[in-house]
């Protein structure tokens, strides 16, 4: 026996039983409380359509709320808890809401909570507390979820007899087959209604078909729900590897499959429809096939005195199963006229239907029926009802399929499809049934059990003018609960059609959207949680940096050291110390993440002069220059350097953050705009590690390391450090004499250690992004993102003098647009705090607080040696406004600082410090 608890009560279950079966086995009929009125609810169904018996299963971060007890197999140690009740399930104070149910009709909140917005803040607390069913866990989910792709020729959804035969036929035809079944067992309908197939007991036959599929290379997945079907037969499967709340035995608790199938076969079967009568939601009112499932499959008889209410023949199988199990079938209420059912051997009453159930939270005690216009009551402890069968057409519709109306079955069936999807079995041909509408007081006759929508609610919405079924759905919340209206949809359409005086197909139909059954958020996330929530890119020197315990910066996906604090230094203190070390001595910084492209070929220069706004052709071998790139609209979107390494070989660098975009851009330019050029463009971002060495002593450090005089500013030499061949490029992003050392990343650690050794000897230190920001802001160098944000031209960024006047670069033509001549477009400026204070990054630049913003602060720093807050900014007409005083105002940070506009170059504007 399996041991579990329900609301703290220790219980046992037989192997293979669902929680619902186990509870019924113990005589427990009250399982939950309804969403809105807290009405007592029991078990309606035996499958995924269950609207009532929702529980929280598991504990801590593994707890899963709103889990259907009918779709949950009991395991040893399972902890199940009822929901939406206080202090207990049987004595729920919330049930007092039933006394004021008249004041809470459909859409009551639309009519009630009018008034000043502040009042809503008051209401909200109570509404939020009252809303919902089971509470979401607040602890982290300790389990892992897998995501996986799969491809097949034929995907079969549903492993009933029709699905098994379809899968077997496909496998025998040599197709790659995947068969999925949401139940734990294959062919669950054969467990409910045992029969022989091909000379074997049904379950044996099903197992043999599955074995044949596997032997032919097919895949059979149980406890797997096809949750959505998308374009091109892309279908998502949600597989439970263990039951909800259960500790996984293997690596994963669930697996989410992304399947691409040439053909999809839907053998999804049907769902039984409830009947609509007063108190049809009481514990002890169940669907007929569900009762039969509990009796035949799980060995549980849910009641001893049973009234069967039906509109079709199928329910007679239930009556027979109950009788065989020893229960008394008090009466069969058949809505059809005689002689329907008269040869069944049961006490059949024709033209009969239930009007009202009697009983309370402990279950039904009787039923009143309308029989040929007269009412009659029966004592019973179980009502087994069947209002016909609704094909499961969700996936068919999600694939863009149409629905046809089957008059005999009073149901929508799959029609034309626009994808290679077909439906087989009972989903394509449901059993005949009739409908007869709702009986009994409309206020107590429930249509949508999970969202507490009654016939009266539908009628109210109709009276208030909601004619479109889509509007009515939203107004009443019909079909919007976790069960997605699986048992309510057709009853609602029938009611609307009757009010309108039309047939159901004319009443319309709501859209079936994924998922078919709820999918755990964890399954959608997969392994992308915690530190793996997004890809992490580690530079070649990552481990070396990590040993220094830096403050890390997530720069895009890259992990970069932001600062290397010494002792108890804060980020700001460490950053300033490192920046001063560069200004006064020398520092080294890992710049491996820079984008780098090797451009080779006889047409390399033509290619680069299309991409870069600066001249490239005049560069001598061994020389480089700062450059920047524009889109077709003429606006600058990235910058970097270009170096001529050989006659027809260049190295182009650009920003870290824009690296992927630049790779895409260069590929586009190469393959579409310059397809005729003889040029090769290869991204070597990861091949080359790079270290920046900056400071007045950097030349001496490099000379000592290489044994040769360091190249002059914007020159490159091929040399060696620690025995590793390196490109030594004299370029500065700090305002000091500086170098970038590029080399094969496999040797990153050896080169870093050699350089660091000399830097430390020279009184310097490693520096991170924080110091780099301070240095470059003071110098007025730009960063892609905040400063180069793709909205300014080269002129507006102060780069106009460097633009290749001969044109030819991408974006040159569009710069003649009249809009670009507007002198009040934003332009890059520097700003400095006038009376002290720190200029907030992102602040608006205004003449007076409250006035229209004329620009914004893109990057904020300080004068490294002297102190004082400085910043770069985009300002309307900024180039003409040097000397003007404005306010940098940040309402979000509640900071306002008076600033003076000026040049963006706060440090060594003539560039003297670049030179030895």
């Amino acid at each position: 026996m399996i041991r579990f608890t329900f609301d703290g009560r220790a219980l046992t279950a037989k192997p293979g039983q669902t929680l619902a079966a186990a509870l019924l086995d113990h005589g427990i009929k009250l399982v939950g409380r309804s969403f809105k009125y807290h009405r007592p609810r029991g078990i309606l169904s035996a499958g995924v359509e269950e609207p009532n018996a929702l529980v929280t299963v598991g504990t801590g971060g593994r707890a899963e709320p709103n889990t259907r007890a009918t779709d949950l197999y009991v395991y040893d140690g399972m902890v199940a808890t009822s929901q939406n009740r206080w202090p207990s399930l049987s004595s729920d104070l919330g049930s007092a809401l039933q006394l004021v149910a008249k004041a809470l009709p459909a859409g009551f909140y639309y009519k009630t909570f009018f008034g000043p917005p502040k009042l809503w803040l008051f209401y909200e607390k109570f509404i939020r507390r009252a809303a919902g069913l089971g509470p979401a866990p607040v602890e982290a989910d300790p389990d892992r979820y897998a995501q996986r792709a799969a491809f097949c020729d034929v995907l079969v959804v549903g492993a009933g007899p029709a699905g098994l035969i379809a899968a077997r036929d496909a496998a025998r035809a040599g197709k790659r087959v995947i068969l999925v079944e949401q139940d734990a067992e294959l062919a669950p309908s054969l467990l409910r209604d045992p029969q022989e197939i091909e000379g074997q007991p049904g379950s044996v036959w099903a197992a043999s078909v599955a074995a044949e599929l596997r032997a032919k290379g097919g895949r059979v997945l149980t406890r797997t729900s096809a949750s959505g079907l998308w374009d091109d037969n892309f279908i998502c499967l949600s597989e439970k590897l263990v039951e909800p709340g259960q500790v996984p035995q293997g690596a994963f608790t669930q697996r989410y499959w992304h399947v691409r199938a040439d053909e999809v076969v839907l053998a999804t079967g049907t769902l039984e429809r409830p009947l609509t009568f007063a108190n049809n939601d009481r514990p002890g009112v169940m669907l007929s096939q569900a009762v039969r499932t509990y009796v035949s499959r799980f060995g549980v008889v849910p009641g001893q005195r049973v009234v069967v209410a039906t509109s079709n023949d199928d329910a007679y199988l239930t009556a027979t199963a109950l009788r065989q199990a020893g229960a008394e079938v008090v009466a069969v209420l058949d809505s059809r006229p005689s002689p329907a059912g008269q040869d069944s051997g049961f006490a059949v009453l024709n033209c009969a239907a239930p009007v009202s159930a009697a009983g309370g939270k402990r279950g039904v005690t009787g039923v009143t029926a309308l029989i040929d216009g007269a009412e009659r009551s029966f004592a019973c402890d179980l009502i087994a009802m069947s209002g016909g069968f609704t094909p499961v057409v969700h996936l068919h519709m999600q694939a863009g399929g149409k629905l046809d109306w089957d008059d005999a079955a009073q149901a929508f069936v799959p029609g034309a499809t626009r994808q290679n999807v077909r439906t087989v079995g009972s989903a394509a041909a449901p059993a005949p049934a009739e409908t007869f509408g709702a009986l009994g007081p409309a206020k107590q006759a429930f249509v949508d059990f999970q969202n507490d929508v009654t016939v009266a609610d539908l009628d109210l919405a109709w009276r208030e003018g909601y004619r479109s079924v889509e509007h009515l759905k939203r107004y009443t919340t019909l079909g919007m609960a976790t069960d997605q209206g699986k048992t309510s949809n057709m009853a609602a359409l029938d009611r609307i059609a009757r009010r309108e005086g039309m047939e159901v197909p004319q009443a319309g139909l709501t859209t079936f959207r994924p998922p078919y059954t709820p999918v755990s958020m964890g399954a959608l996330v997969g392994l992308a949680t915690g530190e793996h929530a997004q890809p992490t890119r580690r530079p070649a020197l990552y481990d070396l940096h990590a040993a220094k315990h830096p403050i890390w910066l997530n720069a895009g996906y890259w992990k970069r050291p932001r600062a290397y604090p010494v002792g108890s230094e804060t980020l700001a203190e460490a950053g300033l110390r490192e920046a001063r070390s560069v200004r006064q001595a020398v520092g080294l910084c890992d710049v491996s993440t820079l984008a780098k492209f090797e451009v080779q070929g006889p047409d390399a220069v033509q290619f680069l002069e299309r991409v870069c706004q600066t001249t490239v052709g005049k560069l001598a071998v061994g020389r480089g220059r700062y450059t920047f790139m524009a889109r077709e609209d003429g606006l600058v979107f990235d910058d970097g350097t270009v170096w001529r390494l050989e006659d027809n070989r260049y190295l182009l660098t650009s920003s870290t953050g824009g690296a992927s975009r630049m790779a895409t851009w260069l590929s586009y330019v190469r393959n579409y705009l310059c397809a005729d050029l003889k040029v090769s463009v290869v991204c070597v971002q990861e091949h080359y590690a790079a270290i920046a060495v900056a400071g007045p002593q950097s030349s001496a450090v490099m000379a000592e390391l290489t044994g040769a005089e360091a190249p002059r500013h914007m020159s490159v030499s091929e040399t060696g450090i620690a025995g590793v061949p390196v490109l030594l490029m004299a370029a500065s992003f700090s305002g000091e004499r500086a170098f970038e050392v590029h080399f094969d990343a496999r040797h990153a650690e050896a080169v870093w250690r050699a350089i660091e050794d000399k830097v430390l000897q020279a009184g310097g230190a490693p520096y991170g992004i924080e110091a780099m920001e301070l240095l470059r802001i003071e110098k007025g160098h730009l960063v892609v993102g905040p400063d180069i944000d793709g909205r300014l031209t080269a002129d507006e960024l102060g780069l106009g003098k460097m633009v290749n006047k001969a044109g030819g670069w991408i974006g040159a033509a569009t710069l003649h647009r009249p809009d670009f001549a507007d002198s009040m477009r934003k332009q890059l400026v520097g700003i400095e705090a006038v009376n002290g204070g720190s200029i907030p990054e992102g602040a608006m630049l205004v003449r007076r607080v409250g006035e229209q913003a004329e620009g914004h602060v893109t990057a904020s720093g300080l004068r490294i040696m002297e102190g004082g807050s400085i910043a770069l900014a985009h300002l309307m007409g900024g180039h003409m406004r040097h000397g003007e005083e404005l306010y940098a105002h940040s309402p979000t940070r509640k900071q306002t600082v008076k600033v003076r506009v000026g040049s963006p170059h706060f440090y060594d504007p003539s560039g003297e410090r670049y030179r030895d």
Binding site: R144, A146, Q147, R148, A149, A150, F151, R219, L241, G250, A251, F252, R255, H258, R260, G526, L527, H532, Q534, P535, T536, R537, R538, P539, A540, Y542, W558, E598, Q600, G601, P602, R649, L677, K678, V679, S680, V681, V682, V684, Q685, E686, H687, Y688, A689, D744, A745, R746, H747
Partner: protein
């Protein structure tokens, strides 16, 4: 218990050959023609319409393609990882997009695809192993992903 061994082979001298012309003499240097799209031969993998990844020495090849293409070193940025064992195809389906289980994906087939958000170049070495070229910056993440996934493959 896992049926896949994830083995970090380390880095190798890798070059990317990019052609804009039609050089003669390549076959003579390599001992075989450049492989077609989706295939590999010897130490050469086709990685694009005009590009090949080459493992090994390329100075003779450089001379052979002169004027018709270029070669760039890329080996410092690609970690080689071998996936071996009967379930290596199954492992690659985890977090993947490509049909590694296709019977047509056989020895010396090459694909560049995305696995767990990372662009990976893969070459089938034989029935029981596959060689992956993983961007070095993503390697730690992807190896972690493979190690976790290998422990829970579907049967």
């Amino acid at each position: 218990m896992t049926d896949v061994v994830v083995e970090r082979l380390g880095f190798a001298p890798l070059q990317l050959l990019d052609l804009w012309g039609d050089p003669g003499g390549v076959q003579q240097v390599l001992g075989h023609a450049l492989p077609p799209v989706g295939r590999a031969e010897g130490g050469v993998l086709r990685t694009g319409p005009t590009s090949w990844l080459i493992e090994g020495e390329v100075s003779a090849l450089k001379a052979a393609i002169s004027g018709d293409g270029a070669i760039a070193a890329v080996g410092g940025g690609l970690l080689r990882v071998r996936l071996s064992g009967p379930n290596w195809r199954s492992l690659l389906m985890e977090g993947g997009l490509f049909d590694f289980e296709s019977p047509a994906f056989t020895t010396d087939c090459v694909v560049i695809t995305v696995i767990d958000h990372v662009s990976v170049t893969l070459r089938v070495e034989g029935p029981d192993s596959c060689l992956a070229y993983v961007p070095a910056s993503h390697a730690a993440d992807l190896l972690h992903f493979w190690q976790i996934s290998a422990g829970g493959l579907p049967q």
